[in-house]
Subunit: 353 residues, 2 copies
DNA sequence: CTGTTAGCGCCTTCAC
DNA sequence: GTGAAGGCGCTAACAG
């Protein structure tokens, strides 16, 4: 039994420090530190004693002290527009698993449309709170806005994910949205469609611009003109699709196909068209983008483009890990997409469109 | 103009330290520190000089040093079963916004079904990496498993969210799942249903157990017996609903209503039943739980129970904030739910069920 | 292979 | 109102 008085000394149960381990194992703190970081550099006996002591008192190294000393936090900041979106949460998962394996933790920066939040996240980087950052928001964090203030000079490695940041000299991992959209257009054109409408997402979204470019290029390849009457704009929500559907129902001349820049809007649109007595794909084909889970279970199942979201996260995290380790792996990575043909698309109706 | 040689000294652009500010403002580091923490304790002149110096060199306090010194990290750990789920991401958003306002950052611990991850997250707490934790996973992190090892003795405040942790002496914020399920059952019974099936989620889920209890209690209130043939088990996925739908299609005697413990399974079920020629709600009523976005746009729209997910996150974060500030706000908070009646449920068919 | 030593950057008494 | 000094817990030189 231990001397009860000794226990009395530390009733507050302060966390064990490296000193405590050293004392118990009868070595110096340096040896404890080494036993943890470079076990091979410590004699087996000492190592065993250290490990036993650690287990006995439940020692866990203090990360703040470690960070302060080593100037490495083993934390990564992930900046994203919103947490509340399946699209991002799937990517996040890929990031998390990769980071975790490498021993890194993840701090989430949800911008949530509030610019002031960005400032604080920028300071995380400036202050060395994180060793690297993954940007899912389409622009550089802490970049001077309107040239006001100095652009945050930070040497923290960053990688841009999903939304390319034009002009930024950091690695970019992205899905080739433009090429995927072109592919979808080729598919629709091959089915005989000539009047193909488009529902866009928010215009300021880099990713959206690429998809629209693909739509445009697809039209050109087919020798079709871009018709402003066939361009609708939405905000990626189900409701936006409903709104477009209502507009279409009130028209005399309808497109034979609608290409929505995401699945939610496509689904909202389909529902509205069908309720309005239009057959999908008999009268109008509807296709989306993303391949969210529900795309396969709506009626009819949605033709769409599958993006490797989890893989996107994994790759981004890997590139960042390399960067943080000093291995330069700059440049741009483009991930392949897949056209998933389901029941919501079919041949263009033969009558006058 | 500055002396170019002076700039030469720090070409590596090391982050500015409090020393640098002090030197530039011609005060001591203590004054800088005070100017930041207790501005009123510093003379206006000194304060101005300090602030100008800070702005000029872009000083940001080093959080590691601050944490080491103050033993407070201003970080909170959020442990959850998986990131890849709308249900959690909505809660997360409520947490994030509340934490952010209070100046706290958020570290995500995605368990992802891997027990070894839990160990690391536990050490985050043991090591003082975080000041508090929000548990969305239904059990205590770092608790000794099977009594092996010592239960992690940590004084880090914790709050349990969404899944109550039986026996744990920490505050719990939750939705009253049982009461909500009872309410749904009352509604179905009032519509004349007597053969009401149930699709459960994973059995080890505390939240699932509460919902099932509600189902059971609802039956009792209506004087109905629990029929094992009417209990199906799933895993909250769309596919699980499809599987149950297929089973029902092959049966002679079907229930007149199915209560699914989440919306995804209900939607998968509905789709399968309808494809199999069964009318919803004409032949069978289908109801869910959660009120995810898609519940309103499937055909027919799904009757379900709405949970205040974001509010759940906010409340949990607030209680934790209180706890960390030393204000004791223990106990249990139950948030109200709402029965959302849509087109997927209706009166029980009159013929023999 | 091991111990001693010197900080990492900050905050906070303690004097003045 | 301000400055000097010590130390939070750890790791990385540097000796031995």
């Amino acid at each position: 039994m231990d001397d009860p008085a000794a226990g009395e000394e530390r009733t507050l149960t302060r966390a064990a420090r490296i000193q405590d381990v050293a004392r118990l194992a009868e070595v110096s703190t340096a040896t404890v530190s080494r036993a943890l970081a470079n076990p091979e550099r410590v004699s087996p006996e000492a190592r065993t004693r250290v490990m036993e002591a650690i287990a006995q008192i439940g020692y866990v190294p203090n990360p703040a002290a470690r960070t302060l000393r080593s100037q490495k936090s083993r934390m990564v900041l992930v900046v994203l527009p919103t947490l509340d979106n399946v699209f991002f949460s799937r990517i996040l998962r890929g990031i998390e698993e990769t980071l975790f394996e490498a021993g890194y933790g993840m701090i989430i920066g949800d911008l949530d449309g509030l610019p002031e939040k960005e400032v604080r996240f920028a300071s995380f980087m400036a202050a060395g709170q994180v060793d690297g950052a993954l940007l899912l928001n389409g622009h550089l964090v802490g970049q001077s806005r309107n040239g006001e203030g100095r652009p945050l000079k930070t040497n923290v490695p960053m990688v841009a994910l999903c939304e390319a940041i034009p002009g930024a000299e950091i690695p970019q991992i992205e899905v080739d949205n433009r090429a995927a959209a072109v592919r979808m257009m080729d598919y629709l054109v091959a089915l005989g469609h000539r009047r193909i409408a488009y529902i866009s997402g928010p215009q300021d979204n880099v990713l959206e611009r690429e998809r629209f470019q693909g739509y445009h290029e697809g039209l050109e390849r087919a020798g079709l003109a871009l018709d402003p009457d066939l361009i609708f704009s939405g905000d990626y929500s189900l409701d936006a699709g409903v709104v477009v559907g209502t507009k279409l129902l009130n028209r005399d001349e309808r497109p034979t196909a609608v290409f929505s820049s995401n699945d939610e809007m496509a689904i909202g649109l389909m529902r509205t068209l069908i309720s309005g007595g239009i057959r999908v794909p008999g009268d109008i084909s509807v296709v989306g983008f993303d391949d969210i889970e529900f795309a396969a279970v709506v009626e009819p199942p949605l033709t769409t483009i599958r993006q490797p979201r989890r893989e996107l996260g994994r790759r981004g995290a890997k590139v960042l890990l390399d960067l943080m380790a000093g291995r330069n792996r700059a440049g741009r990575v483009r991930l392949e997409t897949e056209l998933v043909v389901r029941g919501s698309s079919g041949p263009a109706p033969s009558g006058p469109g």
